[in-house]
């Protein structure tokens, strides 16, 4: 039964390759760097979706990494003991919120808030950068990035917390004995020791952000678009699948969507494998599996 895991891996690979064979045959590798998504004329390329996925994930990481690592440090090094367990539970509850619920909240609460408050102030402050220029819709790369950040904070936090907890206590005591303040202990004795593991936690979060579907789909706008402005609507690999898969009538169109799925799977597999290797070499099997 355990070997079923390998069967599953093969099954996923086979299904996606089999489904995308028409498209692979027709477009080849140029599919990944073609910008057009012209369904009527069957000129299809995934570049806009890859761009959207990468940009939103990058925004998500920029926001989520400092917050999650900070929270993990707070939970293991700073917080009063009585507060730790409830706080950990809150983080776990955040992880349990279904993504469609977060997407609903994003669409009706976050998007208007971004449109009326965050985006205009960003434009006023940083409008000289092309990133924060252009018409503001609320929906778009930035809002999707924020939603993704909310979604990956729990996983980065809980893995980071595990990592920090696995740092030997002696390590800390030695630093305290030298007269270090609590922050200095954290920086010198804990963080430098746990660097590699924390990096693994971040990469794991990246893998989650790349493949997250519903919440991003609901706030990104779903328009194939490559633009410097983060206020502009876009499209991700996962959301094009969610939106167009059941509408695909022609064989080639459907096959192209399968190939988008294949590309998405490829990216997430590589990222996840990298993260798992980092985590496993950091602490061996003591790190519990993450869901």
């Amino acid at each position: 039964m355990a070997l079923a895991i390998f069967v599953l891996v093969l099954l996923i690979g086979y299904e996606l390759l089999h489904g995308s064979r028409l498209s692979l045959h027709q477009f080849g590798w140029r599919f990944l760097i073609t910008r057009d998504w012209d369904v009527l004329n069957e000129k299809l390329g995934a570049l806009t979706f890859i761009y959207g996925t990468l940009v939103t994930s990058a925004i998500a990481l920029l926001i989520a990494v400092p917050i999650s690592v900070g929270t993990a440090i707070y939970l293991t090094e700073v917080a009063p003991l009585r507060l730790r367990q409830p706080l950990v539970m809150f983080v776990e509850l955040l992880a349990a919120i279904p993504s469609v619920v977060l997407g609903l909240w994003g669409l009706f609460v976050l998007v208007p808030f971004m449109r009326d408050h965050v985006d205009p102030s960003l434009e006023k402050l940083l409008g000289f950068l092309p990133l924060f220029k252009g018409p503001i819709y609320g929906i778009g790369f930035l809002s999707a990035g924020v939603i993704l950040a909310i979604m990956i904070v729990p996983i980065i936090t809980s893995v980071s917390r595990e990592i920090l907890r696995s740092v030997p206590g002696l390590q800390r005591e030695a630093a305290y004995a030298l007269g270090a303040t609590r922050w200095e202990v954290t920086r010198i004795a804990v963080l430098s020791y746990a660097k590699k593991g924390l990096f693994g936690a971040v990469i794991l979060g990246l893998g989650r952000a790349l493949g997250e579907t519903m919440a991003a789909t609901m706030v990104i706008g779903n328009i194939p678009n490559i633009s410097a402005s983060l206020f502009a609507p876009g499209y991700t690999m996962a959301s094009v699948l969610a939106n167009e898969f059941t509408e695909a009538v022609s064989g080639l169109y459907l096959s192209a969507l399968f190939e988008v799925g294949l590309a998405l799977l490829g990216v997430t597999l590589v990222v996840n494998a990298f993260a798992q290797l980092l985590l496993k070499t950091f602490a061996g099997p003591t790190i519990k599996p993450q869901h």
């Binding site: 929270t71 493949g211 519903m214 869901h291």
Partner: protein, 373 residues
């Protein structure tokens, strides 16, 4: 003596600790906000009709999500049928049997499968259980219409079928042969899909046992394929496998090694030790892992989009089926205010369902397995 930079270090210490506190507050803030809005907007829409009525038409007010609520429960019954046996037995294998290297690879693969985007599972099951397979049809060619690309074939039982064969369709396994070369009276094996031939083989052997088994399997598959609760349940079930496998292994590892040794020393066979001693001791933990995996897949929408598909009516297992997350998604992106209202209510119900399982499980196992699962 105080070091000259003592106050600066103290200040930096305080500053950084405050920064960490702010991070923690920022991390928790979305949880509070989401809860607030869900209760604020969703609670007022929860009423008797929501739980007992079918959805109203587009733009109409009223109606409920009765079919979606039942649909979600049906999916949550189907998913463990796939996820639990494979997951639990796999976890037992990882913990009790197998070699180190093999188990490393299994663990590694399971952890990576956990990271596979849920929408990809939807795509896989779409290919597996939603699309009908090409079915075989044996018989002798009656007539060939080269202009219209049509071939009429009569089977041995006398059934007559007309198949469209386009220029791309391969005749024989060896390569493309013009349709005109297919003569009436030739025995052929045609693989077809909706009257469209996908492959035509004209040099065939008599049907053997193997080919009739294949034909039976394909016929059975095509009878249940299509958007359905079965497909949705399979997608969720496949997602459960790596989750359940890893948590089962975790809890079995918590069973003290002495138990196994004691049982083996008494001459009990290893499989009985595993089932009656190890699994029994860890039963609560295994069930916990299963329930947590269920809570995780209960809220999933992406794998259902092109497997269960959604439905406005009640459905059988082989028909497109509604589920709460699907309904929330469809309502949320609709232009109607009343549907938005119901989306909030559905989201609240969904979140409560997930949280009840989560918190309940944690409460049940708070003493023994805290922090382990």
């Amino acid at each position: 003596m105080t070091a000259p930079n003592h106050r600066w270090r103290q200040f930096k210490n305080g500053l950084m600790q405050t920064v960490m506190l702010v991070c923690a507050v920022l991390a928790i803030l979305p949880l509070v906000l989401v809860f607030y809005y869900l209760v604020d907007k969703g609670f007022s829409s929860l009423n008797w009709a929501f739980f007992t009525k079918l959805p109203a038409g587009p733009g109409e007010t009223g109606g409920g999500m009765a079919n979606a609520i039942v649909g979600t429960f049906v999916l949550l019954m189907l998913a463990p049928l796939v996820g639990v046996p494979v997951g639990v037995l796999g976890g037992v294998f990882l913990s009790e049997y197998g070699g180190r290297r093999l188990n490393w690879w299994i663990r590694f693969s399971a952890d990576i499968l956990n990271g596979v985007p849920s929408i990809v599972w939807g795509v896989v099951v779409y290919g597996l259980l939603v699309v009908a397979l090409p079915a075989p049809f044996r018989g002798t060619v009656q007539s060939v219409d080269v202009a219209k690309h049509l071939v009429t074939v009569q089977s041995r039982t006398g059934a007559r079928r007309e198949f469209a064969v386009d220029a791309e369709t391969r005749l024989n396994l060896n390569g493309k042969i013009p349709l005109a070369s297919l003569r009436p009276g030739t025995g052929v094996l045609i693989w077809y899909h909706n009257h469209q031939a996908t492959r035509v083989a004209d040099s065939i052997s008599a049907p053997g046992l193997w080919s009739s088994v294949v034909a039976a399997i394909i016929q059975w598959h095509n009878a249940i394929s299509g958007f359905s609760a079965l497909a949705g349940g399979l997608a969720l079930g496949l997602m459960m496998i790596p989750l359940v496998m890893r948590t089962t292994e975790e809890v079995l590892q918590l069973v003290p090694h002495g138990y196994r040794e004691a049982a083996l020393a008494l001459g009990i066979a290893q499989w009985r030790t595993t089932v009656q001693i190890v699994m029994r001791t860890a039963l609560k933990g295994i069930v916990t892992g299963i329930l947590l995996a269920l809570a995780r897949v209960a809220g999933e929408t992406a794998p259902l989009l092109f497997t269960a598909l959604g439905n406005r009516l009640w459905a059988h297992l082989t028909q497109p089926t509604a589920a709460i997350p699907l309904q929330v998604y469809i309502y949320a992106i609709s232009p109607y205010d009343d549907w938005h209202r119901q989306a909030w209510a559905g989201a609240l119900v969904l979140l409560l369902l997930v949280l009840v399982i989560n918190i309940g499980v944690r409460f049940l196992t708070r003493d023994r397995l805290r922090g382990k699962v």
